[in-house]
Symmetry: C2
Subunit: 250 residues, 2 copies
């Protein structure tokens, strides 16, 4: 007979208490870009039909950032992922209702703060892995993101807000796009993150002015339209430009 | 006979274990602006001659942000302070060496992560208060900040870096300056935060272009130079401008 979620939580309780720091969880908002859409990687919890951010706990013997990298690797199979710790959530009520049905001394039923990261990941490099409490791990469209358990919807919305602010200060483009891309693909990425349409001519001129792209002697072929030019980020110039932000600076 | 720091830590141990979440500390980098200098508020620990950021713990029955506000109020007497949670520090070795001399089951000798905030505060509204483990609580010049205990120097440097980045996105000016100020005072604030000299004409033109300042029908009198105009932030326009950042935006 299949073990229920509750039975599993009880069976694993002593393990968690022995190995992890109490009260501290780590959650990851994993963004990808595919088919002209911004995607988020979510788990669906066993027996409850609820979606959650991929997450885990801080091992007593590991650094905080190593925990985030380990959790991401467990869920996606990918390493060296771009991770940005953006906020720690610590309201009293953030997880209380969710675990109310379980016995009160259970690991999962204690108060937890969530140290939250967003991750930017090449969609094609990921092999989504369920954790042991989930029945699915899937990429969903950010535009139709489902309600999530606990305060995960709040965490997701703040991650998206932070990603918007970081467009000009962090290597968002190079971490979400494949190595070679067209100008319309880059513009589309900016549009789905900013959630607004941008003028094509203005976008093209700004990108040229920043001088962070190298135009390749290749074109994208096989599409319905005329073959567009391919570009890649100039790693050195991109890094230099991001130091001061991509806008006019002081 | 005066109680030593060690004796005090041992006497208070049970209290901490009963009331606070284990493993979680909250530290505050408190910035003020005075005499043309950027200042930071630091504690000097009893018996050790070491400086530390004002900090404390998360009560089991309070929200995380409420803990930061409570700790700041205890140290400064001030309320409604501008606080920005900027990063959580969680390296394994961050506090280990510091508490090595104490017995291993002591509250203070466990592994702690630090959820760190920076605070912007009107220098004149503060009445620095020592905590029970300190022999001093003082404003020091950021430019000659002393070495601090544990990883507090790292936390301080990252707070300063974040403050620089936030100059165009958060109400830094209005929280560090008195209500009325001169253009040279505003420029000086930007210069000490950015750690570089700015061209007076350019600075004046940019500030005018943003349209976030109201020029008052008053002048600063009594100084050695000719009386400069006084300004204040236009609260509504400042808030609107910060939404998109003060630089050119997409």
């Amino acid at each position: 007979m299949k073990e229920t979620l509750t039975e599993k939580l009880i069976r694993r309780d002593a393990y968690f208490k022995e190995h992890y720091m109490p009260g501290i969880s780590v959650d990851c908002v994993v963004f990808g870009f595919h088919d002209s859409s911004l995607k988020i990687l979510l788990n669906k919890l066993f027996d409850t039909d609820q979606w959650s951010l991929p997450g885990g706990y801080l091992n007593k013997t590991e650094n905080l950032n190593d925990a985030a990298n380990r959790i991401l690797k467990e869920r996606t199979g990918a390493e060296n992922i771009y991770l940005n710790q953006f906020k720690t959530f610590g309201n009293l009520q953030r997880s209380e209702k969710f675990f109310a049905p379980y016995t009160s001394d259970l690991w999962f039923n204690q108060r937890f703060i969530s140290i939250s990261y967003y991750a930017l990941i090449d969609y094609n490099s990921v092999d989504p892995q369920m954790d042991e409490y989930s029945e699915a791990c899937e990429w969903l469209d950010v535009a139709d993101a489902p309600e999530m358990m606990m305060d995960h919807t709040v965490i997701f919305n703040e991650a998206l807000e932070q990603l918007r602010k970081d467009l000009n200060n962090k290597p968002v483009g190079s971490n979400l796009l494949p190595e070679k891309f067209t100008m319309p693909e880059l513009q589309r990425l900016y549009e789905v993150i900013l959630n607004k349409e941008l003028n094509r001519g203005n976008f093209y001129r700004k990108m040229k002015r920043y001088g962070i792209l190298d135009k390749l002697n290749e074109r994208r072929t096989g599409g319905a339209h005329k073959s567009p030019d391919l570009y890649q980020f100039n790693e050195y110039k991109y890094a230099e430009a991001l130091k001061n932000g991509l806008q006019e600076s002081w």
